[in-house]
Each structure stands twice: as structure tokens, then as C-alpha cells.
Symmetry: C2
Subunit: 338 residues, 2 copies
């Protein structure tokens, strides 16, 4: 595992260095080769040099590394997260990381949210009409190709089946956004026929969010476009008990290259206070170990992190009175004793 | 008040006739002139004649009526709600009902959700590229004109100020859907300067949904585009205690014509059982009375409906063991005694 580590901005610069020793410890215990480099991409570099995603990075990264670990991007000095968009959306689109998997871990079970990561309103197609210096018409296009939706849906259905899931829900809005909705429905229904183990259902995004908030327990697998997946996974994080807990993996099934990234942002309000929660980043490391076929260390890490999260050294956002460092001390001690 | 009543489909055909006597009673008590006609638009007519929104209806309606009361549209026999889209989106767009107000009534206070109702992804712009009979590219465009966003934002800010609200939040996604996000932010910031009584804030839609689910209490006024408003108002309904409670008004500020409509759908699963909740439709009638300047009967109706909802004759969805009719009996008795 050769990892490009991008702490990024805000609490990303705290949780990533804090969490990495857990990966190093696990790799030593299990005899797994590990190397990583830390890249300084983020707000400071953008403000100093104007560069977000360096030229040629998208070509170089997969030659040198197997995966990226990204902390968080976002800085109050940069409107609309311009640098974050360039880096994050640039990596997702440039490296074809079209499957974004965000597990929502609840007492009632796990919901595997799969989000298409490169198309729809995230395709970057659109523009504005300007007159006398001000925008008079603003257009953003949701564009999907059948090929991309097919690849995405097929991969997700296969993963869900292989993981023993039984139900899968397509989230769409065909009654108001009809071209997109119909393409997704058509592909979903066709691909499902090859997976008799899975029972499919379809919901309008508004009704789905309503049901998710009221009672998430019936859901197992969820497939959504980029924008709906973005919203749904944040609601999932709220149901989990906080953004501090939610992890995600963005994967290209063909190249196997992947980017792991907590769902939370850079949280400028708590950055620098030493209380950021490394839980989501640790869960990203577990997803990374899973991705490279190391299920045993991944499960051990999850067990220890969950145990630590129930203790007094947990960070304040999840009810403890610990700090980033105290929480990590507990995690590393638990890893050591297992 | 001359009302076109469209019960529509499913439980719409139950809650609308059930709720109307409350309006009749109030108009008698308060000496308000009222007349209405019932129109049979909906799934049955669509299936029998192929007509959803009759030709010329958009021109005729405002000549004959002051407002529309719509129950619900949606029928399992019609994919993607094609007739509902024609009727509902046709009326919203055709009558320029560009302000959709959906109050979220919580113990911690009321959140006034204002949703732009005619543009963005609801503009109906887009298409599909077909090859050998199957769609290969699907496009839906989010299109906003500055003039429409300005009119919407200005009207909402004025309403919020006049209603004594102090805080207003713009929900957007400028970091991933930049043209739209920037236009909305620009208009919001400019228009806000004319309302020193209001404190503005801006949130990404994913973060907003997260915060809304975690703790809705800080929010007072919320402004959103059509798609985000659709999702947000369903989450609001979940927080209120169910879709059976959420009402909405779609208004054209220039003509004053309005359409009142519960947030819930036609609920085919419970249609015909006599247990549909008329609460949201009654709250639509209260919004209608407000709209025509009859604050006293509106408040009386709200008081009686809320009292009835706490009693045993409330419908099962809100914890009672009543029926549509039993609940209405209680409401009408309470109206009679006040
Ligand atoms: C930062 C932003 C562009 C991003 C997204 O919308 O995908 C974030 O919200 C996420 O969920 O990873
Ligand atoms: C029926 C559908 C087109 C509609 C919408 O999306 O506006 C509904 O969900 C609503 O919220 O009124």
C-alpha cells in the first residue's frame, strides 16, 4: 500500500496525522508493507501559489501510489471552496473514481450508500450569461451517459450482493427531473434482473429523505446520483450521531485506484483546538484496508475505534471529554492489547 | 374567495371533501363570501381522456377563481407521475406561482421554508440523446434567471421581515453547482442589504440538511431553489411528526393568485381506508384565509385543528385511533364552540 496523504485544511491537518499511527501499527502487526508521502495540497498552497491540483498530478498519482487519503478541504478565506473543487472534484473526475461508498452505521444495521461521483450536476457542465457585468442567466447541467450509469449500477449491485445485502433502493426524482430519472430507472431495472438475490425499490428523493429521517431501519443498499448522494450521506451522518463518524471511499473499479475521505469538512470553527474527532479518518483507514483485501486488520481497527468511542477519552462531539490525542492514545493502546 | 377545488388522486379525494366543511363553517361564522367548484383533474381523467391540464386552463383559472385547493396527485398506474407533472408543474409555471411557502411548525418554533417554484431543475429544460432506441445521454438543466431569483428573494425577505422573523438562511451548493450557487449568493447578499432587520447566513445543502436533522431550533427563514426546497420541506415534515401535518402555499406575488396544497402525496397505500389525515389540508385552508387577509378565522382554525390533533379522534399516523371523519367531527365541534 503506497499512499498519497493529503491532510488538506482545518481539522484535516489534525485528524490525518493523528490517525496515521494506527495504520502504521496495524501494518507492523500484520506484516503489511506500507509507505506514504504527505502532500501539501490545500488552502495555504492555493493562496500562496494559485495552484490547487498541480499540473499532471492526475497522471502521476496512480503511477506512484495505490490510493489517496484526504483529510478535508475548505477555508473561510476562499469563496465557494474553489481550491477544494479543483482538488477534490479534479481527483474524482480525473481518476475516474466513479463509485463513492459511504457506509451509514446505525444500531438498526448498516446502510451502504453508493453515490455516483463524476456525473450528473457534478459533471462540471454549465455556464452563465452576463450582461453589463452581472449574471442574468445561470445554467448548470445534469449530464449522465448510459455507459457510466450502467458501470456504476452494475458494480454497486455486485458489491451489495457479495456483501450479503438483500435490498437495494434507487433514489431519483423522475417526476420533476425526468430525463435523468428515466435513464437511472431504466438502467437500474435492467441491471437488477441479473441479481435475483437483491430486491429493488425506487423512491423519489424527497420521500426517501423523509423516510430515512423517520425510520432508517428498512434500508440496506442505496444508489444515488452525485447530488442526491451528497445530501443523503450527510443525513446518514446525522443519524449516525455526527459528521465526526462518517467515512467514505471513492473507487475506480477498473484501475482499483481509490481515495478515502471522511464525510466531514474542514470545520474551521473547531480547527486548532485539538478536539477534532479522528473517528471518521480511522474508519477511512479501515475501508482502505478492506479495499486492499486486508479484512482482518480492518475489522480489528473498527473494533478498537468503536470501543474507544464509548470511553471517556472520546472527543466532545460524541459525548466524551477527551481530545484528538487522548482518543488516539486509547485507540493505540487497544490495538496494542488485541 | 372563489376557489377551484382539485381533490386529485388517492387520499386527495378523501381529505379535500372532508376538510371543506371547516372552511364553509368559518366563512359563515365570520361572514366571508365563499364559492367553489370541484374539478375532476387527476389520474382517472388522464387515463380516460389523456388530458391532465386541460387546454386553456391556465388562462381561464385566474379569470374565474382567486385560488386553487389541490389535494394530491399520483397514481400507481401512471409512471413518473406524468399527469401530476402536467397539472402541478403546469399550474405552478403557467400561473407564475413562483413562491412556495412551507411552514415547518416545531415545538422549538416555526421555520418558514420558502422554495422557488418555477426555475432551476424545475424549469423543464433538457432532453435525451437516443441511439438504437435507448437513451445514451440524459440531460436536465438547472436554469435560473437573475430577474426571477431577485423577485423571489425580495418577496421572501419582505415577508420574513413583516412576520417579525430575524434570521434567514440561503441553502445552496456553490461548491459543486457553481453557476447556480453564485447567482443565488450574489442576489441574496445584495437584496439583504435592504433588510437590516434580518441576519443572513448561507449553507451548503448537505450541511444544512445535516444541521436541520440534528437541531432545527436555530432556523427561522430558509430560502432554497426548487429541488433543494423539495427535499428540505420533506425533512421538515419528518421533524414535524409526519407528512400528514405539512401544508404549503404557492403564490404569485404580482397577481395574488395562489395554489394551496398539502406536502404529502396521494398515499395509495392508505387510500380508501378512511384513515387519511386531513390536518395538512386544514392547515392549507388556514394559509388560504391568511392569504386573503382573514387572520382571525385562520388562527381559530389552527387552534381547533391542533386541539383536535391532541385528542383520541386523531388519525393513526399522529397517534390517535380515529378516522378522517371522526377527526373532522371533532374539528367542526370545536369550531362550533369557539
Ligand atoms: C466539498 C464538496 C464539493 C463535496 C461534494 O459535494 O461532493 C462534499 O460535500 C462531499 O460530500 O464530499
Ligand atoms: C409531485 C412533485 C413534482 C412535487 C415537487 O417535486 O415539487 C412534490 O414532491 C412537492 O413537493 O410538491
Amino acid at each position: 500500500m503506497r499512499i498519497a496523504v493529503i491532510p488538506g485544511d482545518g481539522i484535516g491537518k489534525e485528524v490525518v496525522p493523528a490517525a496515521l499511527p494506527a495504520l502504521t501499527a496495524l501494518c507492523e502487526t500484520f506484516g503489511l508493507p506500507l509507505s506514504y508521502d504527505v502532500l501539501d495540497w490545500g488552502a495555504d498552497t492555493w493562496l500562496a501559489t494559485g495552484v490547487g491540483l498541480p499540473d499532471g498530478a492526475v497522471e502521476r498519482l496512480p503511477r506512484t501510489y495505490d490510493a489517496v487519503l484526504l483529510g478535508a478541504l475548505g477555508d473561510p478565506r476562499i469563496p465557494d471552496m474553489a481550491h477544494g473543487r479543483e482538488i477534490l472534484l479534479g481527483l474524482r473526475r480525473g481518476l475516474d473514481l466513479y463509485v463513492n461508498h459511504r457506509p451509514v452505521v446505525l444500531d438498526s444495521g448498516v446502510i451502504d450508500i453508493y453515490r455516483e461521483n463524476t456525473q450528473g450536476l457534478y459533471a462540471g457542465v454549465g455556464g452563465s450569461v452576463t450582461r453589463s457585468g452581472s449574471v442574468t442567466v445561470a445554467i448548470d447541467e445534469s449530464v449522465h451517459t448510459r455507459a457510466a450509469v450502467e458501470d456504476f449500477v452494475r458494480y454497486c449491485l455486485r458489491r451489495l450482493r457479495d456483501d450479503g445485502r438483500r435490498k437495494v433502493t434507487l433514489v431519483h426524482k423522475s417526476n420533476a427531473v425526468p430525463n435523468t430519472g428515466r435513464l437511472w430507472q431504466d438502467v437500474f431495472r435492467r441491471e437488477l434482473t441479473a441479481f435475483p438475490e437483491l430486491t429493488g425499490s425506487e423512491e423519489y428523493v424527497d420521500a426517501f429523505c423523509y423516510h430515512l429521517v423517520r425510520d432508517p431501519s428498512p434500508y440496506e443498499g442505496v444508489l444515488a446520483s452525485s447530488l442526491f448522494g451528497d445530501i443523503i450521506s450527510d443525513i446518514g451522518a446525522a443519524l449516525m450521531g455526527g459528521l465526526g463518524l462518517a467515512a467514505g471511499a471513492s473507487v475506480c473499479p477498473e484501475t482499483h485506484f481509490a481515495l478515502f475521505e471522511p464525510v466531514h469538512g474542514s470545520a474551521p470553527d473547531i480547527a486548532g483546538k485539538g478536539i477534532a474527532n479522528p473517528y471518521a479518518t480511522l474508519m477511512c483507514l479501515a475501508l482502505m484496508l478492506d479495499h486492499f483485501g486486508h479484512g482482518a486488520p480492518a475489522d480489528l481497527l473498527r473494533t478498537c475505534v468503536r470501543e474507544a468511542a464509548r470511553g471517556a477519552t472520546a472527543t466532545p462531539d460524541i459525548g466524551g471529554h477527551g481530545t484528538t490525542d487522548l482518543f488516539m492514545d486509547t485507540v493505540l493502546t487497544l490495538l496494542d492489547h488485541h
